[in-house]
């Protein structure tokens, strides 16, 4: 078969698989890619070599499909992964006003705009300018992380202390949420040190060691919250057109591209953090820009970080997908780069076309079943996933992290603080004193 058809078919297959998987809450595409990598390595050991023209486009298709369509469970089922948490708030607002379909499709437009941004803006300029940025910034990543942590912790404002006379009682009432936020950040950070230093998860699934923690921090509390307090979801309308124009898309790309780009480039900075920073930086107030911008941000974060591996002369590995790819194949040439860009273009088109039917299917599901039952179903899938991949040890980690993840839900503080699980250990390690802390914790 000609290389062109091999690339096209494997890219489409990867996109379709991930598009369907994206609709299942709790299942991350990196879990599936991990299993695929293990399978390919097993084949290689057995003497069967799968050419990169097959698995490279397929993995790109998987990442693209996930980046575009994971919005469906995030908005419609309320079970977001971390990078979607900013989409969820206004997205759920759309859901509760019967416009869930519109919300997901606006995000999909954002995803497609993100694809254009990657292919036509980042694509031509990345090989020229990213190595320059890398040379300048390479020794400075640790303080950039510390500065981001400082901003996350300092930029949360009190939500209580609204009534009553001035004094300590009012101050304490106001600071309850902030203290809960700080506690969440540092507890998550502590958990991160344990998991990243001495993971109790079986070494055979070591690449999934952070998964149960993420599920516990983000997805399970959300499902529990929905099950306990979910309002009745009104009947959802399927509209034929979206109230978006070129200027709206342009401003979304501006905001989302910045956030997603930051998250893709900086280590340990996820899509959620990138979205927060870009939201603050661009000060956009239009809700549609916010939702679409998060679509752009999520796409640029996942796909952009994967693409960095392919940029000639850069040699940068960011994100779980890229690390998995690196175990199979290390791209070095411009032809690899163009293959990646072409695959992104094909996969984006396929994923966008799949958005509408899959969103309608999930809406039908929500319409037919009680939303609380849907959330319970989502929770069951998540628990089964954790058990299947990481066993009871992973389940224990998920339970512990659920306890931490419930803190912001109960106290009304920022859920972003849960990202202490990555940010704190990474920042300490990169600054060179991570080992001091792990020794102090008796982990090393």
């Amino acid at each position: 078969m000609e290389a062109f058809w091999m690339v096209l078919i494997s890219c489409v297959i990867g996109t379709v698989i991930s598009s369907v998987i994206s609709c299942l809450p709790g299942l991350h595409i990196y879990n599936v890619m991990g299993a695929m990598v293990l399978g390919l390595l097993a084949l290689e050991t057995g003497g069967t070599m799968v050419p990169p023209e097959i698995f490279v486009p397929m993995m790109i298709g998987m990442v693209v499909g996930w980046a575009m369509l994971n919005t469906i469970p995030a908005v419609l089922l309320g079970a977001p992964d971390e990078s979607a948490m900013f989409t969820v708030l206004p997205g759920q607002k759309y859901l509760l006003s019967g416009r869930g379909y519109e919300g997901t499709m606006i995000t999909a437009v954002g995803g497609l705009a993100g694809a254009f941004f990657i292919i036509f803006v980042l694509g031509p300029f990345a090989p020229k300018y990213l190595p320059v940025a890398q040379e300048v910034l390479k020794g400075h990543m640790h303080w950039i992380l510390w500065v981001i942590i400082t901003f996350i912790l300092m930029s949360e404002w009190p939500k209580g202390g609204n009534r009553g006379p001035a004094g300590w009682a009012k101050f304490y009432d106001a600071w309850k949420t902030l203290l809960a936020g700080l506690a969440t950040f540092f507890l998550a950070g502590l958990l991160g040190f344990i998991i990243l230093t001495r993971s109790p998860v079986d070494h055979e699934v070591a690449f999934q060691n952070i998964m149960p923690a993420f599920v516990g921090l983000f997805a399970i509390p959300w499902c529990l919250l929905n099950m306990i307090s979910a309002a009745d979801v009104p009947k959802q309308r399927v509209v034929k057109g979206l109230e978006v124009d070129g200027d709206l898309i342009l401003r979304s790309v501006w905001s989302g591209g910045l956030g997603g780009g930051l998250a893709a480039y900086l280590p340990a900075v996820t899509g959620g953090v990138g979205g927060l920073l870009a939201g603050h930086a661009t000060a956009q107030r239009d809700e549609r820009i916010f939702i679409m911008g998060q679509g752009v941000s999520k796409f640029v974060y996942y796909v952009g970080s994967f693409m960095l591996l392919f940029v000639p002369g850069l040699g940068l590995t960011r994100g779980g997908g890229a690390w998995m790819m690196k175990t199979l194949y290390v791209p070095t040439t411009y032809s690899d780069y163009y293959l990646a860009l072409g695959s992104i273009a094909i996969a984006s088109a396929v994923a966008y076309l799949m958005m509408s039917p899959l969103a309608r299917m999930v809406l039908w599901f929500i319409d037919r079943f009680n939303y609380r039952h849907v959330s319970t179903f989502a929770l069951v899938i998540i628990i089964v996933m954790v058990l299947a991949v990481t066993g009871w040890v992973g389940m224990f980690i998920a339970v512990v992290s659920t306890g931490i993840g419930l803190l912001p839900v109960l106290f009304g503080s920022r859920r972003l603080n849960c990202l202490g699980i990555l940010l704190l250990p990474m920042a300490c390690n990169m600054a060179g004193f991570g080992e001091v802390i792990t020794r102090w914790l008796r982990l090393t």
Partner: protein
């Protein structure tokens, strides 16, 4: 300006200190953290600490079970009468009305100086995202009107809209004119002592004293001449004076940036007693100036880091960097924006609500 803008400006100012980059390359991020933290610190002091201890003379706390705009109007009129009769500064607190876990009653206060009355209207119930709940627009009807003894002059154009989380404070200050007018000061606890260059210098001084105590006494044996001794002192107490400069400068940039807006700051507290009005070039929540400041800060940080590389592989000037990272992309964005919006007339939606106040509630 918004918190993130101040924060990034602080980091950018810190990056101008060669010691900050040297320390960072040695694994010590402290000066950059100090830069960002001090950049946002004036607002932190106000919004997270001071406002909870700020004394109010009159608290308007509408009863959620008996929402009556007339009661609110009467209380505000009473505060105005107090300021007029007692000829003193009166702090009036307009408390928010929480109706449920995620529901808040919105209300608006307007001073009609022509008729010399205060007008209070209840708006819709809003959620914590400040989005009206459909069907609640006319839930609480009626308008509260109460005569006021003095005209209330509003020089700062913040609308007195109360909805989520904390309600605003307004200060009623007798102007001392024959008419007995009162000046309305929005959020009198904000941009007071905390937003002063002197406060930044004071905090820097505290750091310096702490760092000098930490460093202990210097060993100056063998140094002769005042230049050598001075050099020895500077080296021994380097963290102290470098921290002082970083804190004072990064704190100061916040005060300077805020002067570009409307409210202004009390720049040399305690030597000055009142806020110096801002230049009114922008509102603190305007998207473009905030983004430009953040982006230019990033460019300056990048430039300073590049300058610190001893033998760079890539050579470029600041002008080249500005062209590539700011001017050309800006022109392209501007052209695309023009292309997408040409022929359409965009009516500016003027939200006069104070942006920093709103941002503090959204954060």
């Amino acid at each position: 300006m918004k918190g993130f803008t101040h924060f990034m400006s602080g980091v950018a100012v810190a990056s101008f200190g060669p010691w900050a980059i040297d320390a960072a390359l040695a694994g010590n991020p402290i000066f950059f953290i100090l830069g960002g933290a001090c950049g946002i610190l004036p607002d932190t002091l106000d919004f997270k600490f001071y406002r909870f201890f700020y004394h109010h003379d009159v608290y308007v706390e509408p009863d959620p079970a008996n929402l009556d705009p007339q009661i609110v109007a009467d209380e505000i009129a009473r505060a105005v009468a107090m300021a007029h009769d007692e000829n003193r500064y009166i702090n009036l607190k307009l408390s928010s009305v929480r109706l449920g876990a995620d529901h808040w009653q919105q209300y608006n206060v307007t001073f009609d100086n022509e008729k010399k009355e205060v007008v209070v209207t209840f708006g819709p119930v809003v959620n914590t995202g400040q989005v009206p709940i459909p069907g609640t627009e006319d839930l609480t009807t009626g308008v509260g009107r109460a005569p006021i003894k003095s005209r209330v002059i509003q020089t700062y154009d913040a609308a007195l809209k109360v909805d989520i989380f904390d309600g605003p404070t307004i200060g009623l200050k007798p102007l001392g004119n024959e008419e007995g007018d009162l000046d309305l000061e929005f959020l009198p606890w904000h941009r007071e002592w905390s937003h002063s260059l002197t406060m930044g210098a004071f905090l820097g001084l505290l750091w310096m004293i702490g760092a000098m105590l930490w460093a202990g006494l210097p060993v100056l044996e063998g140094l002769t001449g005042w230049k050598a001794i001075l050099g020895g002192l500077f080296t021994h107490y380097s963290v102290a004076w470098q921290g002082f400069i970083t804190i004072a400068a990064c704190y100061g940039i916040h005060v300077i940036e805020d002067q570009l807006g409307h409210m202004g700051s009390n720049i040399f507290y305690p030597f000055t007693k009142n806020r110096t009005p801002g230049l009114q070039w922008m509102h603190s929540g305007d998207g473009l100036p905030n983004f430009l400041t953040v982006w230019i800060s990033c460019i300056l940080i990048f430039w300073n880091l590049h300058r610190a590389i001893p033998e760079p592989t890539y050579h470029f000037s600041l002008l080249h960097l500005l062209m590539v990272a700011l001017i050309i992309p800006g022109l392209i964005m501007g052209a695309l924006h023009w292309l997408f919006t040409r022929g359409t007339r965009v009516d500016a939606i003027v939200d006069t609500t104070d942006d920093e106040w709103s941002a503090s509630k959204a954060g």
